[in-house]
Symmetry: D2
Subunit: 344 residues, 4 copies
């Protein structure tokens, strides 16, 4: 069975494994106070061109989202998000569990606009009894989004500007950041992203690591005491060096980006193959996750060899599936899938 079901189905990139093995017997201090974390943080700051940023390493995406948001908001504030945002739908209420409402805005292609944020803020501000409603306190977006789409540089600049104007920290969930930045349709760089938001993270779990997300805090006002909150949230790994070694490897010789690139190329090829076969893509994805409406017949045939994520039925009674490539996807497997799609 070949997995195109998700991007966290295999272990880590061989170079990471190699370095974990090589450093396994080294003794270090715990909780991120080790040379590997320091080195990784340096390399990340350099790659982001943010020499004054703080870099912290956490374990997983839900943990990172909830820890970051919890560290920023005051009790009466909520976080603005697309209604399709991961924090709004797929984290078992982790944000609410820490006391905050997710203020959802209707999304198009998984994205929200500067205008929507501005309107949401104004509606609240102009409400004469606004203290009866949750105050917008920050903005969360995903890059790429949950449906694989990308904000353009212009869109991101507009979001960034309105957030600055309204004093709302902008937080970018980069769980699949590598796949976003490596998309041919992406017109921003890591440095652009770092400049345009206040805090973001570079996803490792889905982009070559065993696990790990690197939070980059560029806005000085958000830096204070972050490590306390990590610890309280159970997000401070005792053997932090595991995270250091992994990100140090990923940010050596551009590995993080190299390994994400092929996955996006593969995904786009698969999309093209399905579309040529008359299968509709269900999202305008430009990255490694592709969504399709597949007939029972097609699904049955392909499922003999391939594993996809099946979410349920569309209203046309087709199967709503995700085909997901990753840094670990092999060219020969992709070629074969495409051949099999053509033969449907």
């Amino acid at each position: 069975m070949t997995y195109f079901q998700c991007d966290y189905a295999s272990g880590a990139h061989p170079k990471i494994i190699k370095n974990l093995v090589a450093t396994n017997e080294v003794n270090t201090l715990g909780y991120g106070n080790d040379r590997y974390c320091k080195s990784a943080a340096q390399k990340i700051k350099k790659a982001c061109d943010t020499p004054n940023a703080n870099v912290h390493f956490l374990v997983g995406g839900t943990q990172t989202n909830s820890t970051v948001i919890y560290s920023i908001l005051r009790p009466h504030q909520g976080v603005i998000s697309a209604d399709s945002g991961h924090i709004a739908v797929h984290e078992t209420g982790a944000i609410e569990a820490k006391g905050h409402k997710v203020l959802t805005l209707p999304s198009v292609d998984g994205k929200i606009t500067a205008k929507q944020i501005s309107d949401c803020f104004d509606m609240h501000k102009n409400d004469p009894v606004r203290f009866h409603t949750v105050q917008p306190g920050m903005v969360y977006i995903s890059f790429p989004t949950e449906t694989g789409t990308l904000y353009t540089k212009k869109e991101l600049e507009e979001l960034s500007q309105i957030c600055k104007d309204l004093n709302l920290p902008l937080f970018v969930d980069g769980a699949r950041l590598g796949y976003g930045l490596m998309s041919k349709e992406c017109d921003i760089t890591l440095q652009d992203l770092a400049k345009l938001c206040d805090i973001f993270y570079i996803g490792g779990t889905k982009c070559g690591a065993l696990f790990g997300e690197a939070v980059v805090i560029t806005n000085d006002t958000l830096k204070k005491d972050f490590k306390y909150i990590m610890k309280q949230c159970g997000a401070l790994l005792a053997k932090g060096r595991m995270l250091g070694v992994q990100f140090d490897t990923l940010f050596t010789d551009n590995l993080y980006f190299e390994i994400c690139k092929s996955a996006v190329d593969y995904a786009v090829r698969i999309k093209k193959a399905f579309e040529e076969k008359g299968v509709n893509a269900l999202a305008n994805s430009q990255t490694n996750q592709q969504f399709f409406a597949l007939s029972d017949e097609y699904l049955e045939i392909l499922s003999k060899k391939y594993l996809f994520e099946v979410y349920g039925k569309t209203k046309d009674n087709l199967n709503y599936i995700r085909v997901c490539t990753s840094w670990a996807s092999k060219k020969e497997d992709v070629d074969e899938l495409i051949k099999d799609i053509k033969s449907l």
Copy 2:
């Protein structure tokens, strides 16, 4: 200036004031362990025909909603509500602040249906990775709703049945319960309501009292240790007898219902007057709150003598206003308003 702005603009019904004055110098134990609370609870249980219910007296609506919901849900559960529900929009995130997501369903006339609850439950249950999403743990409805509408007996029976089937406690926010039950279009009784839900409250703040909401718990499994949670939530009044005296008065000689009845009649008359004048009602309200789209001209004229709640503009650029009567509204004021509407 005559107030039609809200139903909490004046003090309490004279009989309540009389009894508060009469008992003012009596000494009692605190925290609800007094004869007045006991007597009021007895009368309420009798009125509800629920001899085994537990009755608790809290101070206000947001406090009651958040305390009740917090007492029922486990950490990973959320409360199903109409998207127009008070807990979803006007409580500054009080439910989220206590850790729970409000799972909103699109409402028609402020109401949700048994089918919607069933679908929401099934969608969650059938999700293969359902532990990534908030589990529906209870259902919240308002009676009357935030737009003044009422569930019919049939609708309520269906809601009740589905909630029983799915093991979801049904909680009814009765902040304006008196106005609901006294509507000519209401086909349920207090006893029906008590039988059809697991926990509900009888609103005092808006229905004749200075303040106070009487929570009635009929489902045995929800009774345990409720008073602890009240105390933790700052919802246990030291001089609980204030609540006891007020509800004891309201549930003597049917006072609660008598005084709510006129308010609803007045509101319906005002609605008729506006409609005859070609002013659109913005909700299908059958109770004491009526919502209209009023031109600037009309609003300006009427605002010289009357205070309404003005929420903002409709998309037709009319003024979205609420006209609200209460137990304290006077017939002569209503007559005059109607006369003035006719003269517009």
Copy 3:
């Protein structure tokens, strides 16, 4: 039965009742936006000599403590308190329920010292892995304390200074403030208190009102958006005017202080009578609450006419009781109690 059991056993001072009755039919806006709240706030600011303070009216003590502390702390911070502090023992974990640890310090006579705070702060600061422990974020004291004692002006100045030095907001729980300030042994004024802390409240529930606590915020950085947090905490009364009328009355013609004074005098007389009889006072109280170790025999005799709070047994197997006077205690009742004590 004569009540000396607590200071919330009766209704409100007759002048408050009179004004509530007189204003009962007046219509006002809700949620504290009424003339009475405005007037009361003005009078309180004048009495405190803090023209720039913000004044908010809440309903009860636990509610006030938890709302204030929640509004100040960041997620990883805790509140320093005497181990005997109300928030540490008698609020069913209300502070923890809002996410914060109470950092208790051993108390003498219910009090903590500047030195203790300094040491606690330093111990945390000097801990190389301090992010594994809760960061002290503010200081809570009660005035008078839970055992009826008082901080001297010198002690309070020292607390104030260390809190300023360490940037820890100082919050004073004044649930029984009137009884404290009116004690003969009290060497501070309301103005002193207002100057020496960052936020405090003037207790109404136990000092003449039906209910109500007036929060005074003098530190500008603590003022922002307090009303949102009140609403979220269920602490924003719809008919806020009830609180306004009560505090307006209490702060007219010095009523608040006048009515507390006699209660303290009575309590001190009772203490003297018990001590002359060889009954040990269990706390060094200078205010309206007095604590004694009473034999079964004495308790049995006195309990025929008087109600005390009985907490349990001391280790000498005596009855640990509280005798509590209030603004409502009558001279003749106190005289009779003293006579009966003498006759034991």
Copy 4:
């Protein structure tokens, strides 16, 4: 520099590394639904002789403690713990951040007794206003404790019995469980432990793994929906197989216990050497953590070659240090340290 500073200074046991490498390219489902987790759970259930237990794999200790406790308690309940318990002092208020008070009892040798629990429970139960205080809802103990001591079988049976009698779930923090069970002075087995408590965890982070704690739930009433709460708490690893592979390795051929045994032996030898030199042990530890009061002179000499954890000064102005061995400690390093101690 030789590390005796903590038990999480190096990577994982070579067999774990070997298996992680061997399985690195295998594709599996995420979130614990993989063959390795299933196999590891089976082996753990067998080792515990609890065929009906539920086993879940989490990442770290603080995360595990807070997730477990949060999953068990109702809002008004707290967790009973020794005042020296990890949850009470070293988790940055993680328990409080999830809404619950830690009810600390004074400990002797890091332990609490059945009698203390019973007294604490009774004191609460017999309080006439008990709803003003936090209700004891469960009991937390560490095995071994934070100071390296062990409950005897008799002590544990008594704790277990009182917890059953009082209906308080007993939760055992086994972050260093291997070192406890392998102590020569330990008179209980893993099976005993599993039988005597309701939920416990087998620590991996400090006992041979890169990271990971295996929660074993034996009490049926605590099993429901645990995975939802893990997800919400950010404690559900996407590549759960990492945890599965590690615990599968640890519970193959008794590895977990084998590798912990030597560490305890080493620690006891070091303790003996220090004591023979007249250095006082600061705790009655029987496991891999040993605590000493070391003079500046001794510390300076030994610090040239060895790293210890230095906590600060004792009241005798000696250095309060921890010497910590682990599964990774080497015999030759221990021999050398002992030789150097003798030469002091």
